[in-house]
Amino acid sequence: MSTLRKTLFYRIDGIVLLLYLMLVTIGILAIYSVEHRSTDTSLFMMNKSYMRQVIWLGYSLFIGFIIILTDSKFFSSFAFLIYTICIAVLIITIFAGVDVKGSRSWLGVGSFRFQPGEVAKIFTAMALAKFMSLNETNFKKLKNRLIATAIALAPAVLIVLQKETGLALVYFCFFLVMYREGLPTAILLLGFGAIALVLTSLLVNRTTLAVLLTVFAIVIALLGRQTLKRKIAPRIILISVWLFSLLFSQVAVPFVFKHGLQKHQIERIYSMIGIDVPDEYNKALVPGEEKKERTNSSEYNVLQSKIAIGSGGMLGKGFLNGTSTKNQFVPEQKTDFIFCAIGEQFGFVGSAVLVILYLSLMLRVIYLGERQRSDFTRVYAYCVACILFFHFAVNISMTIGLAPVIGITLPFLSYGGSSLLSFSILIFILVRLDADRQVLIR
């Protein structure tokens, strides 16, 4: 109980706060480097994004300060209430949202706009933490698992209805949290397996995939041959999984695409994973007619992004010398593709430092989670770590061509008030809860 006697500010985790401030600073510098022009007369130009980002940082720190001063029990007490309000706002957004690039995920009041989907993560995390830490919740029961899943995925469904699929995908990261809390490994594997199967069926050549699946099945059979000899059930499971995969990728997918789906649906699916519609599903394609010029720009984005990062080399071109990012070749370079600015100007060394900073932050958050007395804080900490992880992994992977282009931001770095504010709140609530780690919060 000795720590309780120390003042509140002394109990705050300095490492998380330091990492947070480092990342935000890097973000503002990156935005500045992209926007800077040699003709600029002054550093403080209010029409520039980096200055606006600085102002948003001010707001974030102010709100963070208020959060620190708030009683830690407040968050668990009001978790469900805020979550309900949040769901309501999301539903309103579907109807009252401002149309931005085809999606209706923004709410606008005058010139001020914000994205409820971006903020909903925080309250979903809190609601999930609250539910998991309830005394009556036994996570071994299927019913509770389903409720937890519903809490996690309800906002995702609403966000999909707002046509902001990228943002909705983030909510799948809560499965990792549930895994920590006792969800069977098999479900996790099954989930990963299903995602992998769907993606590969769309991305990989069909024959190649069939061979790969078979080889994969044989390897598993060889590794587990002792078990397979003794018991019959694993044999059946293995063979049926293999058969299902084959059927799914070889028959179901082509059939649905050729006969089930409309042209625009196919196009939307492929544009979501960021590749061209293959010729065989391209219904606009009349035999003999030449293929039309691509309209999908995500491939162009990724190429420009790879050019920017790839040209950075080991040490980079130097601050303010990024020819690709400075001259706007990379689309969305202040927001989703901000990592290009780091990759181009600071090279591999700079990128690696950034990756390590993120990794440190995530691992530190897990460490914080594990040292809690209360389940609420632990689950919440895991939620924070997993949200950060999802954003970090998908965003950087898409800039270097490892993942499809889905519009999600790089935490703390990407330009945008909603994003910065919501990640700040996420972190500050964690810091506040962690400060009371010896207190049992329900």
Binding site: Y179, R180, E293, G310, S324, K326, N327, E370, R373
Partner: protein, 675 residues
Amino acid sequence: MSLATNPRRYVISFIFIGVATIMLLRLFFLQNFEPKYKILANDIAIYKKVVYPPRGVILDRKGRTLLSNTPIYDLMITPRNVPKTFDTVAFCAALNIDREMYASILGKVLVRNIDVRQSPFMELLSDEQTARYQENAYKFPGFELVERNIRVYEKPIAGLMLGYIGEVSPEMLKKPRYSSYRQGDYTGLSGLELQYEEVLRGQRGVHYLERDKFNRPRDPYKGGELDSQEVSGKQLDLYLDMELQEYAEKLMANKIGSVVAIDPQTGGILAMVSSPTFDPNLLRGKERAHNYSQLYREATRPLFNRATQAMYPPGSTIKPFTGLVALNVGAITPDYGYGCRGSYGACSRGIACEHKEAGHAGNFRAALSHSCNSYFSHIFRLTVDYDNFESVKQGLQVWHDYYKSFAYGRQTGIDIPFEGKGLVPDTNMYNKMYNKSWNSCTIVFVGMGQGELLLTPLQMANGMCIIANKGYYYTPHFVKAIGRNEQDTLLRKYREKHVVLNIPDETFTTVQLAMQDVVEHGTGGVAKIDSMEVCAKTGTAENKAIVNGEVIKMQNHSMFVAFAPRVNPRIAIAVAIENAGYGAAWAGPIASLVMEKYLRDSIPTRKKALEEKMLKANLINKYVYTIDSVLRLRDLRIYNAKVEKRRIADSTRKAEDLRLYKRWIRNKLKSGNRK
């Protein structure tokens, strides 16, 4: 509660670390082992701007501009950078061309060049086109407006001497001299522009600029550290006097011929006219090809530099040199006289002389001032037959060597290209012509400047320098200083004094005084300048033309050579006017007016009437046009015959090939049947 560590904590941590590791590996390879991204980044973001420096200007002896620059715009294309979605309609509208024209130009560009290289799409855009294009330039990736300077001739004078520039041709690009040029670059094609190309051109600069995705140039790349600065072309200062040149060209209007005026003390050319002249401004830019072929077709051949390339029999103007050699080898003394009675009959063919009175050739000075044909024919024979020589053959060779040292029969080395050599006959030539059986009578006409002897006006003027300087000359040249430096290495050869075969000063004095007599008492009275000793010699050169195999005797060329003043000479001049008549009638007055203008800066009222007459005179004969068309017809006939011959040879070869092929097929079939 759960203070014991949960193993799944490590699984999740492991997933985080694993993903980060994959990311780092990918980044490592992307950034360190894929150089193509660096190249691509530079390709898209760096804009290489080629800056053409202004070409060197050319100034006259008083610093007045003869040739300078004014900026114009070229539109360049890099075909590979033109996207498939290019807005052709807007582009055509900006340039005010139609789509067919766009397609045809693009086709030509692609044929001429590989598509990654920048080459000219349209040249010399009008101000309107430039303005409209610049407004919309961001819409047209792959195209680029390049500022270039075009030459401006301040006055329409000295076109052939200053020369002109044009685009380098694909043939020229293959030559090592043009290795640093690119398609679309300009280069001097004649005159001083060609001769001093290297110094006038300067050095192209390359600036690397960053550009944004709208293709707009931004800041210098890496602060400009890779840039190479353009170096302006150097200025040329000439000896040429703009006013004198203009005046001489005016005097030579409507006459075929040339004027060459040289400063004997430096070899600098004060004026050089080849008439008829043309406005050099015609030979630049878009219209050059068209105007060139028009000028080329003119019967009077204005593109032929008569001052340095035309070869004329010098006629009597050679007599000072015949005398100079005769005196120097010792064949005669200045007092030597010849009793001419109107003709020279020592050889089988008689040579007429203009003068019949006794004593007009009583000594060297009298003979030269009266231009006695008999006297100079005779002393030429005396020279080549001189006792000290074994035979006329050795004698002629000695004479030939003297003439060679006067820069006759060889290029003087003037600093404009394509100079003519002239012709000084030697023993070998006569041996071939006359099958070795010839004597001094056979070649006697050479002594009076006829026969095989041919000189360019430049050589005649240079000859005057030699007599004026008493035995030396500087190679005639235009350029006084390159980039204000008179000691430039390119000019070193013009600072070298050429001393002719050792002839004592007294001999030159004799000749000079005789030439002064020409002006004061003899045929060249027209060249008189008040209170100045002027030396001159008239010439009336017989000449023939060969038309349709017939030799036609044409009207005489009017020749005049002079220098003044006799002591400390300042100008030496040669004037040749084709088929105009007596030297004293036309060439003489023009030479005297030009000299007066240069030495006195104005024409005295005494000579105003003469000036008026010269300015108005039209001495171009009608038959110049006739002869020209006849010659052109002949050339066409020869060309057609050649083409026909080639066609026949071609079809014969084809027929032969066909015959052989058929036989081969037949043999094949036969052997096939046998099998």
